[in-house]
Subunit: 132 residues, 2 copies
Amino acid sequence: METEDAVASLSALAQTHRLEVFRRLMSAGPDGLPAGELAAELSIAPNTLSSHLKILTHSGLVRARRVGRSIIYSVNFSGMQGLMSFLLRDCCQGRPEICEPLLSTAGQAACSPPHLPPDSLGGQPEKQKTHD
Amino acid sequence: METEDAVASLSALAQTHRLEVFRRLMSAGPDGLPAGELAAELSIAPNTLSSHLKILTHSGLVRARRVGRSIIYSVNFSGMQGLMSFLLRDCCQGRPEICEPLLSTAGQAACSPPHLPPDSLGGQPEKQKTHD
DNA sequence: CTTCTGTTTCCATAATTCGAGAATTATCGA
DNA sequence: TCGATAATTCTCGAATTATGGAAACAGAAG
């Protein structure tokens, strides 16, 4: 993955509606969800959602398949993996202790049973005001 | 982290210059780099870079500290971790086999010595460019 | 063929973002 | 104090993006 592709993927996620769609598709797993159900659940106008889904699909983070007259959208996990690898590549320059906790904590958030409250993992970003 | 914060972080990364800055800071590690050096290395006008750095800092992904008359920017690893946790939260709904390879592969890209070809790690990420 | 449903495309408008010139602030050394 | 260096803020034109109404398209059922 190159910078240009990564920017496309990040731009795709950098919008409230699209991020909500992506996260909903994440939780839906490989089975995905039809566009109409996404629109209803997230209260987005169908045509607006359609353009957002187009952007997500075009970025490679989401894929689409037609079933009957519905179009089912789902996360493209390998696309997501490519993005994360790109963001973290060479992050620690031979010092794995720097960025490995980053991954393990994210992994805990990701692969834990869903009934775990998110705060029990301690991942609060501190918004410090230094030279802002 | 909530949707709004995540959108801010993703928007911060969803721009060529800012993504390059972020990745350069990633490779620089906790020591970081002064703004001027970033500007020179990446060929970005100082004032333009400054506004980008402000956006990155405000998003919580980057932090700044003054040293003499330089301002040193570095990655805020806990901010990055918060973003990744948010993106991956509940990704597999109790089926870790779905999203765990996603993390382990990203981890290999992240915490390996630099300049290693990907296949020397045993399993390379097969980047697929699906339809749009 | 006709109708209904689900989804997308086209188009116009409103809002946001990017980049750089000019001016400003902060720090250091003499 | 002054001058030089490092970085930021202000501002605005140009470009991009988000949104929804109207129309069109695709498949299913009659």
